[in-house]
Subunit: 220 residues, 2 copies
């Protein structure tokens, strides 16, 4: 579709890489994903492209690095217009930026607290995680997607993180669908989309990866 | 200049409110600032407008709330085109969003660690704060402003925080200008701008306010 040279510095299970890949799929863009060795040694290209955080994902567009995943999705939407991911009006965009930022500040950390903890601490981590999801249900209101009738920017920002939700459920012994039915049905709808189904990794593999992290943290 | 109804839920010394007021001044927009009683009791309007964080600033544009200060500045720039604050190209905007986010994640917290600490802890807080500013000097490169030749979005995001820099220097016994001369000269240039000179509060009053916070934290 495009003559642009797109290279993604990637890590297969990173929720932040996943959201960028889903955005690229939505726009029908071809790209090369270069898997980074996160634990063994990051590439010079990654260190040079993102010297501040030294983290994936980085999208190189004709050699120019764009960093921080929600920022990359925003850039993709501004650069390739169709299909539109952000709302057309400035107010709608301000709401989308607000919720994307809320998701970035809360969801991954709250989820990590679940797999990092046991006993009482685990119960409080689960409560916090569910509280975050309930706030997101409030943001969705009665709509199908965060963007309204259409899958859009905020949906993409959240759906990458959903890749880890099965692992949180397994570690925490709870069902997101039961606690937050609106999020549960949103997840089902999103997973039926071609872009999402193609990109989200196998839940079992994510659970194994999180199990490895738990062992590293002395939890299992 | 405009028939828009603009109300800012404000707190005089908030670096985050200050940046919004500077953006409004840059655009030549009239607004009503409603001072919030942060410590005594927030208004129902604030709690209703920003139920997630319950924080100033909130900008009400014809009654619609926009929240989170960098997000508000972004909205102001998208809604009132002139003078342009964000770069015209998508890549420039992605860099501006990246650095605004870096500033939001690092500068206020690093500065707060200075006024909240003593002894060895204070030395390490100063080191961290200077390190953050040095990274920002790197972002500026050889340019006059973060936006290049013109004062822009990232400059506005940082300049609100500068209101507290005198207090950090006083608490930490150091001079930002000596440690980070490029930032020092950027501050001088910015302070000469009409919008900045009009909005930034008297440094002595900010120092007194921070002194009060220090007493509240048992530091002084």
């Amino acid at each position: 579709m495009s003559k642009d040279d797109l290279v993604l510095l990637d890590f297969w299970v990173s929720p932040f890489s996943l959201r960028v890949k889903i955005a690229l799929e939505e726009k029908g863009l071809s790209y090369v994903a270069r898997e980074e060795d996160i634990f063994g040694g990051k590439s010079d290209l990654l260190l040079k492209s993102n010297p501040i955080y030294e983290k994936v994902p980085v999208l190189l567009h004709n050699g120019k690095p764009i960093v921080e995943s929600a920022n990359i999705v925003y850039y993709i939407d501004e650069t390739w217009a169709s299909p539109r991911l952000l709302p057309a009006c400035a107010y709608g965009r301000s709401r989308a930026r607000f919720w994307a930022d809320f998701i970035d500040k809360k969801v991954f950390d709250a989820g990590s607290s679940i797999w990092k903890s046991k006993g009482e601490e685990l119960e409080s981590a689960k409560k916090e995680f569910i509280d975050v999801l309930k706030k997101l249900e409030g943001a969705m209101g009665g709509k199908d997607y965060f963007g309204g009738d259409e899958f859009g920017f905020v949906d993409i920002v959240l759906i990458g993180l959903v890749a880890w939700f099965d692992a949180y459920e397994k570690c925490g012994g709870f069902k997101i669908e039961e606690e937050c039915p609106k999020i549960g049905s949103w997840i089902k709808k999103c997973k039926k989309r071609e872009s999402v189904a193609k990109i989200l990794p196998n839940p079992q593999q994510v659970c194994e990866f999180v199990g490895m992290l738990r062992k590293g943290h002395g939890i299992e």
